[in-house]
Symmetry: C2
Subunit: 207 residues, 2 copies
DNA sequence: CTTAATTTGTGAATGAATTCACAAAGCCTC
DNA sequence: GAGGCTTTGTGAATTCATTCACAAATTAAG
């Protein structure tokens, strides 16, 4: 299959959200133009994005909301339950453990890991906090698909190395640092510092 | 000035982080090639990114670490102290209030806002939690530059409308929703659901 | 001072993503 | 079932971003 751009996948994700909204309001069809308006893009962009995966619409009518939603879930791999572990049980780790968006989309949080003895053994929103030393053993047993990293920057590379060695192929990184991983591992980084600096730049360089 | 791409600004932000690391280790010069290696890009990309703003290097030698760091801070607008308010004092709001990265980069958190009476009046890591009804009055008095939104999706558009009407021109949005704002307002959205779906897609569509 | 070795800065070339534009297909009304 | 109205799907055109490639500048060594 032709390589799909990251930006395309992000938009598909956004379209799915709008479709679910439409679905809950009982609407049965939607045009690329309406979808575009909601997503801040153009109708040609919507159609092009979808065309990479097939043709799901009816000319003159638009797309069936439930059908397109289903197709998008399939494309994005949301049919399956993905198993997630959180590494780092600090404030951000705790906020993520409580985040309902995970479960809603079929991401099941198995456990959180930390090295601090006053966190290990307790629970975070019903999720057990285990000692980081158990990581490899647990991964071997439970085969989580995704590791979420909420550890300090200075430990992030060391931790991701362990995660990769244990066989996990997808990482969501919250440390404001660039991680080096093998090609077959996918890392997405959420970098708040970078976003803030983007705002600072925008505020500074306005016309 | 020529419009600068978002991706360029993000890279500048990354370069600054590496430079600060180099600076703390006492190194005085760096080449575009070293900077590129650390940032997972190419030396031509580094030089092109910088060339939009001037020429800061010395041929045959490279860049002075402190000088380039200073220039980048200036370009990114990090000389100034930006005033920030957080709207939504839930788990994510609390985690952000505690996040040291804000202060380190000169982002000063003035206050948090919430509508729930059991949060209002208390404090979050030393930051006062005020009633959302005071928002407009406070903005009028304190002139915050940036609003960070950590409210539920269903309220996000209503809240951002109030924020925009009160005169704030920069918003960091944590709600997994697309916000509509006037052209002179900059919004950056951090969407964890979208990142997770990107990972799900990558895991599903591997070769 | 001359030659070899670096490394920047930048036009030109290439590659990637978005937008245009229009034929083809379906619905609706009379 | 003909004509008008919509809306998709997609090559072609365009715009935007990255990479190439090399002259110009600087250092270092003899």
């Amino acid at each position: 299959m032709k390589r799909i751009a990251d930006s395309t996948v992000r938009r598909l994700s956004a379209y799915l959200r709008f479709l679910e909204d439409f679905e809950s309001r009982g609407l049965s069809t939607i045009s690329s133009d309406e979808l575009a308006r909601r997503g801040g893009t153009t109708s040609a962009q919507v159609r092009k994005d979808l065309s990479f995966f097939g043709s799901f619409g009816k000319r003159g009518l638009g797309y069936s909301v439930p059908e397109l939603a289903g197709r998008l879930r399939e494309i994005l791999g949301l049919g399956k339950q993905w198993k997630v572990i959180i590494i780092g049980a600090g404030k951000i780790g705790a906020a993520l453990a409580a985040y309902r968006g995970f479960r809603q989309r079929g991401f099941q949080i198995l456990a959180a890991y930390d090295s601090s003895s006053d966190k290990v053994g307790r629970s975070l929103e019903g999720i057990p906090v285990r000692d980081i030393s158990q990581l490899e053993k647990d991964v071997h047993r439970d085969h989580p698909d995704i590791a979420v990293l909420t550890v300090p920057s200075e430990n992030a590379q060391t931790v991701v190395d362990r995660v990769v060695r244990s066989g996990i192929k997808a990482v969501l990184n919250f440390a404001p640092t660039q991680l080096q991983v093998p090609m077959d591992v996918t890392v997405k980084t959420v970098n708040m510092a970078m976003e803030l600096e983007g705002l600072s730049f925008a505020l500074t360089n306005r016309d």
